[in-house]
């Protein structure tokens, strides 16, 4: 009986959290009109959310591309199909690894930072202070960060994929002696703008939306103490990672299903 009551309470609490999350989302959207009038706020956030994530994205992209080059070459050469290395590297990056790994890195680098920042602002009463200054903290602080996350993710994923293709080229063509012309021309012929690139972009927009939303909600909803903030930061990374991987499966099934 006790167990059942506990389960019920937990269920209600998570439903309430879900409700608060959606209300927060609506509230953030309502701040977009204000943001258009003050693009400076957005630019500052694009810098801290997007530009500052670029280093880790570039380096990871390079290494993931290089590993793909190695593994791909090993498998393809067994069938004598080394020329297809370019296609393999590019397709796996654009369709899957680009959006997914970028989103995972983004959750770790930018998402956790957003949660900690908002959570600390809450714990130190800065958000309350803004409210009492008649400034809506959600519109003023959260909306620019949300839009910045949404815009940054596809761009970061594109950078990741592009660098990854170069990484694959370095290993495949530079090290293992795949024909350079074949690497590029096969890629050009087989990668489809609609099928591959658009779908990859759609994925990363969805991931950007979800990751930033989770990060901001966790920060805004956290218990305003140092422990609360640290838990919220952990939750951001865990929930984002799970959401990314589940959504990736669903989106892939929908896009490449038939």
């Amino acid at each position: 009986m006790e167990r059942l009551a506990q389960l019920g309470r937990a269920g209600i609490a998570s439903l309430q959290r879900l409700g608060r999350g959606h209300l927060l989302l609506l509230h953030m959207f309502s701040g977009i009109t204000d943001l258009i009038r003050r693009p400076k706020l957005l630019i500052a956030q694009l810098y801290s959310v997007g530009v500052l994530s670029m280093l880790i994205i570039t380096i990871s992209g390079l290494f993931v591309g290089m590993v793909l080059g190695l593994q791909g070459f090993y498998i393809l050469s067994q069938f004598g199909a080394e020329e297809a290395l370019g296609v393999m590297v590019a397709a796996s990056l654009v369709r899957e690894l680009g959006p997914v790994v970028t989103a995972l890195l983004f959750a770790g680098r930018a998402g956790s930072a957003l949660t900690a920042e908002i959570g600390l602002m809450k714990a130190t009463e800065q958000l309350s202070g803004l409210e009492m200054m008649a400034v809506d903290p959600i519109k003023r602080i959260l909306t620019p960060r949300f839009i910045a996350g949404l815009l940054s993710m596809p761009l970061l994923a594109a950078i990741f994929s592009a660098i990854g293709v170069i990484g694959g080229h370095l290993v495949g063509v530079g090290l293992l002696g795949v024909d350079e012309g074949a690497y590029w021309s096969q890629m050009q012929a087989k990668i489809d703008l609609h099928e591959d690139i658009y779908n990859g972009v759609i994925k990363s927009i969805v991931f950007g939306f979800v990751c930033t939303w989770i990060a901001l909600f966790q920060g805004h909803d956290c218990v305003p103490t140092s422990e609360g903030v640290s838990r919220a930061t952990t939750r951001t990374v865990v929930h984002s990672a799970l959401a990314i991987l589940c959504l990736d499966f669903v989106l892939t099934a929908l896009m490449f299903g038939e």
Binding site: M121, T124, E125, Q126, S128, G129, L130, E131, M132, M133, A134, V135, D136, R140
Partner: protein, 282 residues
């Protein structure tokens, strides 16, 4: 400003039968408070009675479970978001923690409400900010970041920010805590001066009985969810009520509890010991 504000006999803040619960615990159990216009009203009470909570209720950041709070004739908790924000523009609040924005320096913190709510040219903003900073003695600290301020300095900077829009009403949450005797003296003079100069209404939450009785026109003492005394400060200071005397004179024994509600100490200790003996978890 609406026509209500001309109605100068009405108190600026009118609290009726306010009830507020944190879980099972009643923080306010039906209190009535009037804050007259143009006065300095002190709210006193032991730590943890809900003085900060009261200010947050007045500012509309928390919702009461029952009862009403009218500010300038408007029911704070019935206003829509837009009107609530409009009302808050006429309220200044000094937070207990200061609540300065940590990513901008002192000058920008004080300028923040001006930049958000007015379209004043930079030169005028600069002038206004420097005047307010001068008033709290921090003109020289304007380029420091909030993390480089001491607690007392942060609170004074926050005070400058709270008054920069020239509000109609200011709520001070513990303005004197952490101030040395000199800045304390300055603040004790500053609060009445601000009040007179612009016909402000001030609410001061404080433990510093001496300083507060000196500057306040009215005093309310809250304890255990009730107003245990309220009236002109002379009357309260000379009150013979046990409750009030205990608080004003700082006596540990009396009707006002020093302890957070709990069972008797002996019972608590014995229970732990018994639990240890039997090896059960308490």
């Amino acid at each position: 400003m609406s026509q209500q504000s001309d109605n100068s006999n009405e108190p600026l803040v009118k609290i009726r039968d306010l009830r507020f619960y944190r879980g099972e615990r009643a923080i306010f159990d039906g209190i009535d408070i009037d804050i007259p216009r143009g006065s300095i009203t002190a709210i006193m009470g032991p730590s943890g009675t809900g003085k900060t909570t009261l200010l947050k209720l007045i500012g509309g950041q928390l919702r009461p479970d029952a009862g009403t709070i009218h500010v300038d004739g408007q029911d704070v908790h019935k206003l829509n978001n837009k009107d609530l924000y409009k009302l808050r523009m006429r309220m200044g609040m000094l937070f207990q923690s200061g609540a300065l924005l940590t990513d901008i320096n002192v000058f920008e913190n004080v300028a923040y409400p001006l930049r958000e709510h007015t379209r004043l040219p930079e030169s005028i903003i600069r002038k206004l900010v420097l005047i307010k900073l001068e008033a709290v003695g921090l003109r020289g600290a304007r380029d420091l970041m909030p993390s480089e301020l001491s607690g007392g300095m942060a609170r004074r900077a926050a005070l400058a920010r709270a008054i920069v829009l020239d509000p109609k009403m200011i709520m001070y949450d513990e303005p004197f805590t952490g101030q040395d005797p000199i800045s304390m003296g300055v603040l004790v003079q500053l609060i009445p001066r601000l009040n007179k100069a612009s016909r402000l209404t001030s609410i001061v939450v404080s433990h510093d009985v001496q300083e507060t009785t000196n500057i306040a026109d009215m005093i309310y003492v809250i304890s255990n969810g009730k107003v245990i005394a309220g009236g002109p400060s002379k009357q309260i200071a000379n009150s013979t009520s046990f409750w009030v005397r205990q608080f004003m004179d700082g006596l540990p024994d009396g009707p006002v509890p020093f302890h957070f509600p709990a069972k008797p100490l002996e019972a608590d200790i014995l229970e732990k010991a018994a639990a240890h003996k039997t090896g059960a978890t308490p």
